[in-house]
């Protein structure tokens, strides 16, 4: 299971302040902390903290300060593709683009960029109308993204389909549909694209977020989930991912399996 640490996001107060004050310290501390927690990638998102015209420079700065303290690959998270490209140019190792919806104009902007910079790409099963309810309708969008990968020469294993989980306290009917979508994505091509979820979304504004997150992670991994943008410092959540790998026979059991799972 590929863990993409979610914490470096401008919507968190300490990161937002860091961006506004050009203070590298909180960002670097969270980079190191998430690596210690077991992250494989670090998501990098300026959120609303930076005005649009300053975003490319902000992403350049974030990539620079993060790469000073860690060798983990970065997942650049923005709807501003110029900001993502500015960051991609500075990456020391192949990163990930978060993300591209199933909309033709955006596909034409983002897929060639992923190929050019040897980056993985998260594709969203949605369009301008929003997120569909049924698994089948999500898969229609997934198929468009798969066709785009083929058209632009993005290796299928570098495409991560995100079927978009919604909060269970207001939209619980999506939860089983997303699981079914994860299963169905594996049938779309050979080799199949990967799957990813923005896991914390499932527990937005609910009381026991940790319980909901780790339960859904286990369910999604059983359905075939390859990656999750999640809290890499929620030990019980990371332990759940490690345990699922054993129970899916993806990793060989040893009594100390929890300890080695976090070693990078």
């Amino acid at each position: 299971m590929i863990i993409i640490g979610e914490r470096i996001n401008g919507m968190f107060k300490d990161i937002g302040d860091a961006l506004r004050n050009k203070d590298a310290k909180p960002i670097q501390e969270w980079a190191v902390k998430q690596e210690e927690g077991g992250a494989h990638y670090l998501d990098v998102n300026s959120g609303p903290a930076v005005p649009k015209d300053e975003r490319p420079a902000a992403y350049e700065w974030m990539v620079k300060v993060i790469q000073e303290v860690t060798d983990l690959p970065l997942c650049l998270d923005s709807t501003n593709y110029d900001a993502i490209e500015a960051g991609l140019k500075l990456l020391k190792r192949p990163g990930m683009i978060n993300s591209c919806p199933a909309e033709r104009d955006k596909i034409e902007r983002v897929f060639p960029m992923a190929v050019k910079y040897n980056a993985a790409l998260i594709g969203l099963t949605m369009d301008k109308q929003g997120i569909p309810k049924n698994a089948e309708n999500r898969i229609v969008f997934a198929m468009e993204l798969v066709a785009a990968a083929d058209e632009f020469g993005l290796p299928m294993e570098e495409l991560y389909i995100d079927p978009l989980i919604l909060p269970c306290n207001v939209a619980q009917e999506h939860a089983p549909e997303v699981l079914e979508s994860i299963r169905m994505v594996k049938t779309l091509a050979n080799p199949a694209p990967k799957t990813v979820l923005g896991l914390s979304n499932v527990s937005q504004k609910a009381p026991d977020r940790h319980l909901i997150n780790r339960t859904y992670l286990a369910m999604a991994m059983a359905a075939g989930l390859d990656a999750a943008i999640m809290d890499a410092n929620d030990d019980a959540l990371v332990d759940t991912a490690a345990t699922c790998e054993i129970l899916l026979n993806k990793s060989i059991y040893a009594d100390s399996y929890l300890k080695v799972f976090r070693q990078r």
């Binding site: 990793s251 060989i252 059991y253 040893a254 009594d255 100390s256 300890k259 080695v260 070693q263």
Partner: protein, 322 residues
């Protein structure tokens, strides 16, 4: 019509272990052995790099061995002298390494002291230029003392010493760390214990590239295919970036194959089995060649005629097929 081969892409490779040290490196070996490093399944040269061939270490004991005549007749008198015995293995039988078993340390047998054992090791080191594997007498308490003395006496030679097991690994791992040797980590045909033992050893601070896995094979007819399946899982784990299974593997071929009655019983006892001479050679040979296909890097062998056949097999298999 040309067929386009579908090649697997693995995310990692087997770790490489170096055994022995030349004068420039602080030892006295004339050659150094590198094992492991494979980037794909055994011998699929078209799919990934396989730089280091498997090697054969021939067994030398510090007391005359209780082996059958088929094997003993190929050695003659040298079996009474570890130095002459080691020389014959290297010079005549072209062994890549010497595997020295300090059976004389056994409290139930000769009960030799750690200092006496260390002297034998030094004598064998002086007699041959190839790297050395040294193991004890299988008495855990005695072996801890013996191997500590051996590790110290041979500091700088970068030996491969054994055996570390789940219930007794700390002493030998410490000796290997202090005097810079490699360790054989042995588990009882159990991949989960194998992985756990590697974790425990590495937690003490021994680098992962100083560990060699002994999966405790069974000989042909006596568990060989079970050993094969475990070694296969370990190899696939290594290629799938499981660092705690990414070690080269060592197999006690000579010991296990020759325990079988098929390698010892005369034709008169079992007429359907054919001539004992060839049968004994083939029993050890087939045990070895099967394990090569499972990814064995170091084969511990006894029968010189079997060694010759396996050397040919290794040479043939290492011809690139890309």
């Amino acid at each position: 019509m040309a067929v386009a081969l579908v090649k697997e892409k693995f995310s990692s490779s087997v770790g490489e272990v170096v055994i022995g040290a030349t004068a420039a490196e602080g030892g006295t070996r004339t050659s150094v052995i590198k094992v492991g490093g494979d980037a794909t399944l055994p011998f699929l040269h078209f799919e990934g790099k396989i730089e280091n061939r498997a090697v054969i270490a021939m067994e030398v004991n510090d007391v005359p061995p209780a082996w059958n005549d088929i094997i003993k007749s190929q050695y003659g008198d040298v079996l009474n002298d570890p130095v002459a015995w080691a020389k014959k293995c290297v010079e005549e039988f072209k062994a890549d390494m010497i595997y020295l078993k300090l059976i004389g340390a056994n409290p139930e047998g000769e009960n030799r002291s750690p200092e006496e054992c260390a002297k034998v090791v030094k004598d064998v080191l002086a007699a041959v230029g190839v790297p050395l594997i040294v193991v004890g007498c299988e008495d855990a308490e005695k072996d801890n003392e013996v191997l500590a003395a051996v590790a110290e006496a041979a500091a700088g030679e970068n030996l491969l010493i054994g055996i570390a097991e789940q219930d007794n690994y700390k002493s030998i791992t410490a000796a290997a760390m202090v005097h810079k040797h490699n360790v054989i980590a042995r588990s009882p045909l159990d991949i989960n214990i194998c992985k756990q033992l590697n974790i425990l050893i590495s937690e003490m601070g021994l680098p992962l590239n100083r560990i060699v896995i002994d999966p405790m094979i069974g000989g042909l007819g006596y568990g060989l295919e079970y050993a094969y399946s475990i070694m296969e899982r370990a190899r696939l784990g290594a290629l799938g970036n499981d660092k705690m299974l990414s070690m080269p593997m060592i197999c006690t071929v000579g010991f296990e194959a020759n325990r079988a009655k098929e390698a010892n019983a005369p034709e008169a006892e079992f007429p359907g089995w054919g001539d004992l001479h060839d049968r004994a050679i083939l029993w050890e040979t087939l045990t070895a060649t099967t394990l090569l296909q499972a990814g064995a890097s170091i084969l511990l062998m006894r029968n010189p005629a079997a060694v010759k056949l396996v050397q040919e097999n290794i040479a043939d298999l290492m011809v690139a097929n890309s």
